[in-house]
């Protein structure tokens, strides 16, 4: 029996029929607006479309009023080829090359089924990048979990890492960086943010629009199954007798092979210029792809849903519209080029089906079993969703949190105490060696990886002849952001910017992933508003526009939200990748300089975390100083004045020294600055700082550079290849063996059991 389907006609006949809009997440006024737009009640398929398109995830209804600032405060720049709003922003990196990059979250699915959740997260962001017409060339992953020793972490982390690696490795995408943090607030709310970078010629950008009446709408890639349709089953069950209704998947399984083939297929299609427009199918699947393509194009589209290739023949139209099955794309093709298009798909054994045509009717019309089931103005679903002004209120406890500054905590004084503190910090989960995770990621594939973890930023060669390349880093610190969301977001931006500059690349543009609790909590909304304002102001000052990003709300258990976590990705360009600056010390006798100023700043620091304390104010941000520092790091790499550079961030100078010594497997003799408090000098997290090593011959030129630019620079030591130890003179000495043991043991000892 074929189940009765709610048609547009039926909707007109039965205006008063009660519909399950609440179960689908629509508010009363939202449902009322749908009726007003259509001048009747929506058919159940139309209801399905509006409910997913107007969801928080797709419509950004809670965040949009704030995100506008990224546009309003956008710095003047001519590097932006495609700005916010498209699948991903596109940046002109010169030499005819364009780079697109974006970060996205897949938090909740990764909690439910860590491996598949993380895997499909990578798959989704890669399709966003591919859609712009680019070849994906690298991924980064920014991860947050509960405490290292929590059972929840033992369940989630290995699966997430295996999922990211399993999917990314199989696509042949080098993983060149990311983050890994642990904090109580992420128990039950792990954060899995994935970033993808893609490259194309500047003149071959593709856009998501269905232009040209008579052009064909082609669905290609995987077949459509009942994946991720959650709510839609409400509608389906309205039409199905239970017996007839098959069970719907609770979890989406990624098929990286299907995606890899889809990538190569699309790149061949792009190269032959066979599409007018293209869109990936992600959240809200067909509903999103059809409404957005139509809305951005000529304005109308006719779709025959019966033509959609199904994995599960029992799917109802509402479910087909909401299905989030992975590894699917939608293209708009002229009738003349269709044959060629299908031939390329055939070559790659990719299923491709014409399911509709572009019209100038201004309506999105869909039929099912020859009956009209959808007839809506696409813009109303895709672009004119609800916009909320959520109540905002500074949390009551904010003052209390900022009030206690942790001065009371016992600071290490003696040489022994300082030594122990350094080792404990180096071994602490947030600062320890991450290679147990990152060794599960292929960093070599594609043969263009110039820098990868544990370097400050990943770097990819774009062009083998000109040696032009890009560098990218993601950073974010929920502890800082909890203490001051405005400054916290800026600190994340500043660190990513600094990380990129440390490699010798010039920071150009920004992507962001904003992970917060429930927007219905005025306190959370305050954190969000402040973070966005801070980021927008910061980007304006640094001259690096936000090109796109992602908002993830409702990251909370009960009423307790995660630490507000703004993850910022900064992309930079370098004209000649052979000029890159590595992080590790090298070159016997080279001099070590500390750039920037150190203040007594421990709010949100890893030293506080070591004492289980969070309070006070985060380090101050000084963007003028960040720019100055970046300028010096870039010039110094161009002129070949420095052998290594490493930014100072969590753990301060001590941690940076540990990492640079171990990376280069070289010892160093350090003399802390005259009259400085050793504890502050070693562990403060003041920003705008970096350590560099300078060959003796280049010393005067380097000092000259810093002096003319007015950047504070202090000579703090020398590299010693003969003595394999970190020697902080007058304080303590630690052999590299002991350092390495402390730094590397933490993760394996937890997961290698």
């Amino acid at each position: 029996m074929s189940p009765a389907v709610d048609t547009v006609g039926a909707a007109e006949q039965t205006p008063e029929l009660a519909q399950p809009y609440k179960e689908l997440g629509l508010a009363d006024d939202e449902y009322a607006r749908v009726r007003e737009i259509l001048g009747r009640r929506p058919s159940s398929s139309e209801l399905a479309i509006y409910s997913v398109m107007w969801s928080e995830h797709c419509s950004y209804k809670s965040s949009r009023v704030h995100l506008r600032q990224f546009g309003e405060k956008a710095p003047k720049t001519d590097i932006l080829l495609v700005g916010m709003g498209e699948n991903a922003g596109v940046v002109d990196v010169g030499g005819g090359w364009a780079v697109t990059f974006k970060i996205e979250s897949h938090n909740h699915p990764s909690y439910v089924e860590p491996h598949q959740g993380a895997a499909t997260g990578v798959g989704g962001i890669v399709r966003d990048i591919l859609t712009m017409g680019a070849r994906p060339v690298a991924v980064l992953d920014s991860l947050r979990f509960g405490p290292l020793n929590a059972p929840d972490t033992a369940r989630v982390l290995p699966g997430v890492v295996a999922g990211i690696g399993g999917y990314g490795n199989c696509l042949g995408l080098p993983n060149i960086g990311g983050e890994l943090y642990f904090d109580d607030s992420y128990i039950g709310n792990p954060l899995v943010n994935a970033l993808c970078v893609g490259v194309m010629r500047a003149d071959s950008i593709k856009l998501a629009k269905a232009d040209g009446p008579g052009n064909l709408v082609v669905l290609f890639g995987a077949r459509t199954g009942g994946d991720g349709i959650g709510g839609a089953s409400v509608l389906a069950s309205a039409n199905f007798d239970e017996a007839h209704q098959a069970k719907r998947p609770s979890v989406q399984v990624g098929d990286p092979f299907a995606e890899k083939v889809l990538i190569e297929c699309c790149l061949e299609i792009f190269a032959a210029d066979l599409v007018v427009g293209i869109q990936d199918l992600g959240a809200a699947g067909l509903s999103c792809a059809t409404t957005e393509l139509a809305a951005a194009g000529t304005g109308g589209m006719d779709v025959d849903l019966d033509r959609v290739p199904l994995r599960d023949p029992t799917l109802a139209p509402e479910e087909i519209l909401m299905s989030e099955s992975q590894e699917r794309m939608m293209a708009v093709v002229t009738p003349e080029r269709l044959e060629e298009f299908l031939a390329v798909c055939g070559k790659w054994e990719v299923t491709a089906t014409v399911i509709g045509t572009v019209t100038d009717s201004g309506r999105l019309r869909m039929t099912w079993r020859d009956e009209l089931i959808v007839d809506i103005p696409p813009r109303t679903a895709a672009a004119e969703g609800p916009v909320y002004q959520r109540p905002i209120e500074r949390p009551l406890d904010q003052e209390a949190v900022v009030g206690v500054d942790g001065r009371g905590l016992p600071r290490p004084r003696s040489a022994d105490e300082l030594r122990t503190t350094l080792l404990r910090l180096a071994a602490s989960p947030n600062l320890a060696d991450k290679s147990w995770v990152t060794d599960q990621y292929d960093r070599y594939v594609q043969g263009n990886t110039v820098l990868a973890q544990p370097e400050d930023a990943g770097m990819i060669r774009l062009d083998e002849s000109t040696l032009r390349g890009v560098a990218i880093s993601t950073d974010g610190n929920g502890r800082y952001t909890r203490l001051d969301p405005y400054v916290g977001a800026q600190l994340a931006l500043a660190e990513a910017y600094r990380n990129v500059a440390a490699t010798g690349a010039r920071p150009l543009a920004v992507t962001d992933c904003l992970n917060f609790g429930s927007p219905e909590d005025p306190g959370v909304m305050w954190q969000f508003a402040e973070a966005v304002r801070g980021l927008a102001d910061g980007c304006q000052t640094l001259g690096t526009p936000v090109t796109g990003g992602n908002v993830s709300f409702y990251n909370q258990t009960g009423t307790t939200a995660i630490l507000p976590t703004a993850v910022i990705g900064v992309l930079g360009v370098i004209d000649d990748v052979t000029r890159r600056t590595p992080q590790g010390f090298s070159g016997d006798g080279a001099l070590i300089y500390l750039l920037g100023d150190t203040r007594d700043e421990f709010g949100g620091s890893e030293w506080h975390a070591m004492h289980g304390f969070l309070g006070g104010r985060p380090p101050a941000v000084d963007f003028a100083r960040e720019k100055l520092l970046a300028g010096v790091l870039i010039s110094a790499s161009r002129e070949g004045l420095i052998d290594s550079a490493h930014d100072l961030s969590e753990g301060g100078l001590a941690q940076a020294l540990v990492e640079s010594c171990l990376r280069g497997d070289t010892g160093a003799r350090i003399t802390l600055p005259e009259g400085s408090d050793p504890f502050v000098a070693l562990f403060s997290e003041s920003t705008g700082r970096a350590i560099v090593s300078v060959a003796r011959g280049d010393e005067s030129d380097f000092i000259g550079l810093c002096a003319t630019r007015g950047l504070p620079h202090t000579r703090i030591g020398v590299i010693d290849l003969l003595v394999p130890e970190l020697d902080v003179q007058g304080q303590f000495r630690i052999s590299l063996r002991e350092l390495r043991a402390a730094w590397t043991r933490t993760l394996p000892s937890r997961f290698e059991r």
Binding site: E113, G225, K247, V251, E349
Partner: protein, 77 residues
């Protein structure tokens, strides 16, 4: 010593990329007459004779299968 066999299969509604890839390969092998293939895991356990079913079930449910996406069947031969 007894032999217990546990077969773990993806729930029917869950996508099985491996099975699909095999079906695709059959054509190239010139094998016709196979409509669908699902790939699962097969475990052979050597256990003490007195090991009770409850324990085996717990083992299957926690270690051998991922209950979120898989079902399992236990067989004693």
């Amino acid at each position: 010593m007894a032999r217990v066999v546990v077969d773990v299969v993806l729930k029917p509604e869950i996508l099985d990329p491996q099975g699909q890839a095999i079906v695709g390969a059959l054509g190239r092998l010139g094998i016709v007459g196979v409509r669908d293939v699902r790939q699962g895991k097969h475990f052979e356990l050597d256990v003490e004779d007195d090991l009770d079913d409850a324990t085996v079930a717990k083992l299957a449910d926690t270690l051998l299968a991922n209950p979120v996406i898989e079902n399992f069947a236990i067989r004693r031969d």
